[in-house]
Amino acid sequence: MARYLAGRAAGVVVILLLVCLFTFVIFFTLSPDPAVMICGKTCTPERIHQIRDALGLNEPFLTQFFSFLIGIFAGRDYGEGANLVHCAAPCLGYSFQTNQSVWDMVVERLPVSATVAIGAAVLWLLVGIAAGLVSAVKEGTWWDRAAMGLALGGSSVPNYVLALALQYVLVVQLQVLPFPQAVAFGDDPVVWFQSYLMPWVVLAAGYACLYARLTRANVIDTLAENFMRTARAKGLSPVLTMRRHALRPALTPIATIFGMDFAALLGGALITETVFGLNGVGKMAADSIAKNDQPVIMAVTLLAAFFVVVGNVVVDLVYTALDPRVRITAR
């Protein structure tokens, strides 16, 4: 087990380093000179050179790359003499746009994205799995057809369309919800809940539709298994038969998919956060790409990769706990 975990951790580090490298290469070679952008309209070549120096952009590629890496683990210094700025570890640099520490931006915005992701996940798991279960048990009935028709339709609606429609109806027309505001839970729980409700629903809708269809298919497959016939032949109650013998085999694959989906969402729900003006990591990503804010783009890319890769490891570990046939063996 310890050996397995050490191996997986090493794998995570290697993948993250590669993601770092690729992102760095892309921005080093493809993007316009950030110094020019920072300098603005009235700019002299000397000024540009000065800015490039301060940002470390005059260094060779590999030196820049390693400075970036070292910055994450040990912190780094920008500029020289009177202009010297120390960036403490974990240092992800400073935004070209606002000069804010990128790490501070991440720390500030991650809770927003996590709140969006957790709330939506609770919603889509409850609704999706419940709908899928009922559909499977009532296979072929009008309920099944209606629910699955809705799920198919629902998963085809882009979530920005749903977001705008909900906002128009609930906020503008009916005025039952306020426009989402950045309120901490502790300050005003009611407004907090009202502000996050629409993002949760919008983000959860597509997943709920998908999970309903997955759950239905898995449960129907499981109900046809021979061990379900055995359970009935043993005279077990229908409730016990369903709860113990059908649900665990049917839901285990869904736990895996959920782990991956949720991990990806922690890296920011780009569209939902942008539409509702929530200052999460997703909106930070959208803004930084629009403004070519390289340090921020690097950070959000790394963050998303980190969650996906770590999520993968967690999913594998959880799977071994859920399915006794799967056992960890160190390679």
Binding site: N226, F227, T230, A233, K234, G235, L236, P324
Partner: protein, 270 residues
């Protein structure tokens, strides 16, 4: 004393797009206590459907008519709630493929215990003791440890032993074994057959043994029912069936048993 199981004029009907189809037609047989009935036939002959109808386990949509009486009590038409009390308790069934018939997510101990607790109640501790004893009874070595194993940790023959232990944990009067040895290799087949015959003798229960292989039941059946395309073609004592089969189809099945003294067909090599 009345017969243990009386089946009269049993017909099983499936609805299809082209109207109802009878997969079992007017099958009748009786099984005494302490008796073994062999039901023989090729795949699709309706032998499994016959046994599922007895257990009340027919697939959704299928309908059974006629009469099935266990110890004089009519089972057909009884609500599932009542049949459930009998299944696993007074009548049990084991199936062809023990790997897929056991739930891979739970230990064999739990799967045996839950039958006992469903019918007899009691604490988990008691049920565990019963499960260990049941595993011991079917000749599984080291049952105290193996009770916590998962199905995939056993061999095919051991898994079928687990299935048998599970079926017998409440000491049923009737055991239906649906091709219990088909998925096993020959030496294991013989062991399982011997085990079933021994357990049946010790407990005095009635055994219905379903197979497509006449040779398998020649050693354990007292009576034989031969089925073909949903109908019974022959029903007689085992001696009669093996000595002087009355139906051509039975004769054909008998001839299909390879014998060590058969002359080798031309052109057939091992």
């Amino acid at each position: 004393m009345s017969d243990l199981l009386v089946v009269e004029d049993l017909t099983v009907t499936f609805p299809t797009a082209r109207g109802p189809v009878d997969v079992v037609r007017s099958v009748s047989f009786t099984l005494g206590r302490d008796e073994t009935l062999g039901i023989v036939g090729e795949s699709g002959s309706g032998k499994s459907m016959t046994s599922l109808a007895v257990m009340g386990l027919l697939p959704k949509g299928a309908r059974a008519s006629g009469s099935v009486r266990l110890d004089g009590v009519e089972l057909l038409g009884r609500p599932d709630r009542e049949l459930r009390r009998l299944r696993g308790d007074r009548m049990s069934m084991i199936f062809q493929d023990p790997l897929s018939s056991l739930n891979p997510y739970y230990t064999v101990g739990l799967q045996i215990e839950e039958v006992y607790r469903a019918h007899r109640g009691g604490s988990g501790k008691d049920a565990r003791k019963v499960a260990i004893a049941a595993l011991q009874q079917v000749g599984l070595p080291d049952p105290e440890r193996r009770v916590d194993y998962y199905p995939h940790q056993f061999s095919g023959g051991q898994r079928q032993r687990v299935m048998i232990a599970m079926a017998l944990v409440c000491s049923p009067e009737l055991l239906i074994a649906d091709e219990p040895t088909t998925a096993l290799d020959v030496t294991v087949q013989a062991q399982i057959l011997g085990l079933l015959a021994g357990l049946r003798k010790d407990s005095g229960m009635g055994l219905v043994f379903i197979t497509h292989d006449l040779a398998v039941i020649s050693s354990i059946a007292t009576r034989v029912l031969v089925m073909r395309q949903g109908e019974q073609v022959e029903y007689a004592t085992a001696e009669q069936v093996f000595a002087e089969p009355r139906h051509d189809y039975t004769r054909m099945l008998l001839d299909s048993i390879p014998r060590i003294d058969d002359p080798l067909d031309e052109g057939v090599t091992a």
